[in-house]
């Protein structure tokens, strides 16, 4: 389907955080965003997260769903409300604020 899921377990329905990262193949920023996102999740979300990676090069039509223009973009599906963060996620503080995560 052109998507990869990280930290998926048998019963996904109880994952508190569902994040979706839109990437463009293996461009440098896409790879950076993924690496940063993983670090942030491991550091702040314990086991309660699931990351879905959507490669828009393989499936450009999926960009419509969340109105993606610039890549990479991170979308927080859960918990609601929807949040969008554009860029390679290198600024951790900005990402945490954008996701409404308390700094531990």
């Amino acid at each position: 389907m052109g998507s990869t899921v990280i930290n998926q377990s048998q019963d996904d329905t109880d994952k508190k955080w569902v994040l979706r990262l839109y990437v463009a193949g293996q461009t440098p920023k896409s790879l950076t965003a993924l690496s940063n996102l993983k670090k942030i999740c491991e550091g702040h979300l314990g086991e309660e997260y699931k990351i879905e990676i959507i490669d828009l090069v393989k499936n450009p039509q999926l960009a419509k769903q969340h109105d993606i223009v610039a890549i990479p973009t991170l979308v927080r599906n859960l918990p609601e409300p929807l949040k969008k963060i554009i860029g390679d996620l290198s600024n951790t503080d900005k990402v945490l604020r954008g996701l409404d995560l308390q700094q531990r």
Partner: protein, 395 residues
């Protein structure tokens, strides 16, 4: 009124959100935090465009790899080639791009399978370089669709090393077969030969008994000599077809060489050859088979002497260099022509030579962990160099 306000409020919030997102997008672009964009084509379908800088890793990968990469249009014109390919065909890139790939293939009909749609595979082909030289290569190809156009991607790998290895393998198999034949043959020949020798000696005695005169004696002498030559040849062959059995003891190379030279004393004086011996005191004892090494030195010195029929100089050096002992036997004789491998079986520059002597030298030297090489200038002389590592392994 309140409803209108509420509607306005909601609309305002919507506008604020949109503005916020647009602002963030612009900031992300400005800050260089993104490297690809989604655009909507005229047909309404989305397409992703990647900023050129973002292709850098792939570009570098293709450019730096140690194989040739070529992209062809479906009528086999080169659209792209990497530097490695350009080096393989010894042509500058600008003369490759846009040229028919045919130009670089030694056999043009190989292109046919490549031009079939959606095919992928491997083939062996010879590239032809600008200077006319050919290079064997393995090529792997696949077709690539890019929207409406269809391309062929080729990876070109230099096969010359593999070909060399194959040739070497075939050669060593051939030699092994020869060796086995030689072993069998020499066994078969040995008996009749010794029978012949015995018969000749009997005849010599009988001739002497009946006093039949010198005529037969000379002919029988000749027969004996020829039989002797055959026997020696046979023995040489036999020793070559089996690994030599070595009796390794600590040996002083200098004394072995001196003893050898003493054996050749008359020959060297008769031929008017001057001898120079230089044995370095640094050279330690080596683990060697004394008898076999004397055979080696005898062989080398005899060759040197025979190369100087009208006199000359025979130089024998030993020295220690880094972690090897070097032994040099140099003459000022006729030399060995270039392009000849004097170590090959039956290769000789001597009219009466068997061509096996140096093969045996090499066999004995390498069996003791050493190496033998030579350098020669026709008309000026030849120098043989033996080298033994200090810790000669016991084979």
């Amino acid at each position: 009124m309140a409803e209108a306000n509420k509607a306005l409020s909601v609309e305002f919030e919507g506008i604020q959100t949109m503005l916020q997102e647009a602002h963030e997008t612009v900031e992300a672009i400005r800050g260089g935090a993104v490297d690809a964009f989604v655009m909507t084509g005229s047909d309404g379908a989305e397409q992703v465009f990647v900023l050129t800088g973002a292709n850098q890793p792939y570009r570098l990968f293709v450019e730096q790899m140690n194989d040739g990469a070529v992209t062809l249009s479906n009528d086999a014109i080169v659209l792209y080639a990497n530097k490695y390919f350009a080096d393989l065909v010894k042509t500058p890139l600008e003369q490759i791009i846009g040229a028919p790939f045919d130009n670089f293939l030694s056999k043009k009909e190989l292109l046919q399978p490549l031009l079939q749609e959606s095919s992928a595979g491997n083939l062996e082909a010879d590239l032809v370089a600008r200077d006319g030289s050919t290079l064997p290569t393995y090529m792997s190809f696949s077709s690539l669709r890019n929207g409406e156009s269809s391309w062929i991607c080729l990876i070109v790998m230099d096969a010359s090393e593999q070909k060399q290895q194959q040739a070497l393998l075939q050669e060593s198999q051939r030699l092994a077969a020869i060796g086995r034949t030689a072993a069998v043959l020499s066994h078969e020949i040995a008996n009749p030969l010794s029978g012949m020798s015995a018969t000749v000696q009997l005849m010599q005695r009988q001739i002497a008994d009946i006093g039949a005169g010198d005529v037969f004696r000379d002919q029988l002498q000749l027969l004996n000599q020829e039989i002797g030559r055959l026997s020696a040849l046979l023995n040489n062959f036999r020793s070559l077809s089996h690994p030599p059995q070595l009796n390794l003891v600590p040996a002083d190379v200098a004394s072995l060489l001196s003893e050898t030279l003493k054996l050749l004393g008359t020959e060297t004086t008769e031929a008017g050859i001057q001898i120079e011996q230089r044995f370095s005191p640094d050279v330690p004892l080596l683990s060697l088979d004394r008898e076999k090494m004397k055979q080696v030195f005898l062989n080398l010195c005899k060759n040197a002497i025979e190369a100087m029929p009208s006199g000359g100089k025979l130089t024998i050096h030993t020295r220690l260099e880094e972690d090897s002992v070097l032994i040099e036997v140099r003459d000022t004789g006729v030399g060995i022509p270039a392009g000849v491998d004097i170590f090959d079986f039956f290769t000789t520059t001597k009219p009466e030579g068997s061509g096996l002597g140096l093969a045996i030298v090499r066999q004995i030297v390498t069996a003791q962990g050493g190496k033998v090489t030579y350098a020669s200038e026709p008309g000026e002389g030849t120098s043989f160099l033996l080298s033994f590592p200090l810790n000669t392994p016991l084979t």
